[in-house]
Symmetry: C2
Subunit: 395 residues, 2 copies
Amino acid sequence: MKSILILGGDGYLGWPTAVFFSKRGYSVTVVDSYFKRNICKNHNINTLYPTLDLVEKSKIWYDLTGYEIKVVICDLRNHEEMRKLFTSSIKYNFAIDHKFTGIPETVIHYAEQPSAPYSVYDYKSANFTLINNLSVTNNLSWTIKEFDKNIHIIKLGTMGEYGTPNIDIEEGWIDINHKGRTDKFLFPRQASSLYHTTKIMDTDLLWYYVRTWNLKVTDLMQGPVYGNITTDTEIDDRLKTSFHYDEIFGTIINRFLVQAVVDFPLTVYGKGDQIRGYINISDTLQCIYASEKNPPKNGELKIFNQIVETFSVNQIADMIAKAGNEMGIKVKIKKIDNPRKEKEKHYYNPVYKGLKEIGIKPKLMTNEIIKKMIHEVLKYKNNINKDKIFNGIKW
Amino acid sequence: MKSILILGGDGYLGWPTAVFFSKRGYSVTVVDSYFKRNICKNHNINTLYPTLDLVEKSKIWYDLTGYEIKVVICDLRNHEEMRKLFTSSIKYNFAIDHKFTGIPETVIHYAEQPSAPYSVYDYKSANFTLINNLSVTNNLSWTIKEFDKNIHIIKLGTMGEYGTPNIDIEEGWIDINHKGRTDKFLFPRQASSLYHTTKIMDTDLLWYYVRTWNLKVTDLMQGPVYGNITTDTEIDDRLKTSFHYDEIFGTIINRFLVQAVVDFPLTVYGKGDQIRGYINISDTLQCIYASEKNPPKNGELKIFNQIVETFSVNQIADMIAKAGNEMGIKVKIKKIDNPRKEKEKHYYNPVYKGLKEIGIKPKLMTNEIIKKMIHEVLKYKNNINKDKIFNGIKW
């Protein structure tokens, strides 16, 4: 039985990833500090529907399927807490068998503060984002060096690391010809938030450890994810992953879906010509799974661009408006002053072939999928707090 | 009277920088947490000669010259401590006039853990290096955004950020032509220690804030510094800057000078063909001064490569051996297994024109300068603890 450790297992992607691997016969342990829940409490943010905590969800998952997901609640900024996960001094907050599972073959590292607006909200949230995100990656690297350099780290990066350069975006690496000489480098990166900048730093940090200690790392440059439906969590509503529509943690498509159903004009920032790569949450799971099955060699940093298609903000707004209108919901679109500092008109041509080469079958956005998502959101329409949709966190 | 704030004012470069600006009529405040002194205490490291603390040195400087250098001892990882430096709630540990000087025109930011070996010594020193270096830069950026975006930040980077690429190293920026399109980027960087990697991250962090908040930053990519003689500190031995010859904080030339006088064969790591750019400590002061006089515009990140010439390790060892032998000291050279992970044979062609263009007159290494430095070290020969010269911190 292959053993897998998921850091940040309570998150939007962490929980469905845990369920996905559990269902496929892996021995899964999830770890979280609940900081996102705490931020939400402090900012009075509710998700579209309440989400049970990890212990509760894991109990339900076990009761329904007989599969055990072990749970540890701890703060991985603390190196000793990280070390414990790799030793028999681990204390599970939930387990059926409390015996230590053993050192994992793979660690999936989602344990980062994932919000761009939150990262620049004030100096405290900035410091938290910077220190949390880099400490966890650093502690993980040192721990893996200590215990077993063959453990595969799968780390979530972001397409935002690249920003919007005027040249084609390659998958992580670029050959630069300069004054008649050539070398291969990490693709140059320049992000548009502090959060995204911590991901650039993470990549530099991991690449340093990979080449110094021969670690094995896959860095997945993911675009904004949308949706909440993943096959394995569909068996019970209580297993659904969290769905944020607030300005801090909501990703653009999910926010727009909620705005559509409560007659809140879709908030297009600036001109709306900002293009990004997008991915359905169920494809995220496919990508993580394929990455797990195709580990790098020791001393190799594999980078994939984890998107399946690109859209401008205007295109997204138009697609959602069209689907909504066909469902009898009147969807308005409103261009507002861009609270973000970003290019609103830019070249964008990213390569994203690597994941398809290892077997991903992309689930592209369709009118039908949007309607299914709107239908899902409509079920919880009464929970939506319109005050939390947009307050204009600026940077 | 122009006001200048020097973070890390107790360090090898911090103190002589303070004296330099003080002598030239600037109102100078130095800040330090003494962490380097504490590390030295914990690791039982002594410098070539004892160095007085900042309060003692500033008192002497005032007694001898009538110039006041104000001193604050605090930990700038704490954002509130950073903020206080910009307000009348500042508490000086030493001052002649305890009234707040006012918001500085320039901040020189040296407040980082500067040792590559220490940064990879163990997970604690790694975490400290990462968190200290990035927190201080982050806290400084937020504070300057809050108080006055026209304050010029001069930040010490390192040539080590670039590593040893197979293409010419430009000054900070590069135009990349790729598949028929062009854009300008930070020069790609890939360092050979965690410390150097934190400097890459620093540059990314500052560049993010520069373009987001229109800050004014100069990032100086400095090579290893050598020497301890700076004109203004020569008036009294008690004002000399610290001189480290230990494996943790000693820079290569200073270490070799000490090894030469105590008959400890010069420790050439590996083949000795590693080429780096070097600079005399008195030129560091010139460069900082010229940078202060030539601030960037708001929204501009100026990058200079702060070196004046390049040498291989073998060349340095040979120069020191030659000078020593001419002085009647028998200097041996010994190639030892490289404890570092670095290329020992590589292309190296860095550009370093920018600082000359703003007036720097480089003080190049000569046989005479080496002899003067050996003479200086000989004065303190009896203080040297040979056990601290090399213990082989590996990475």
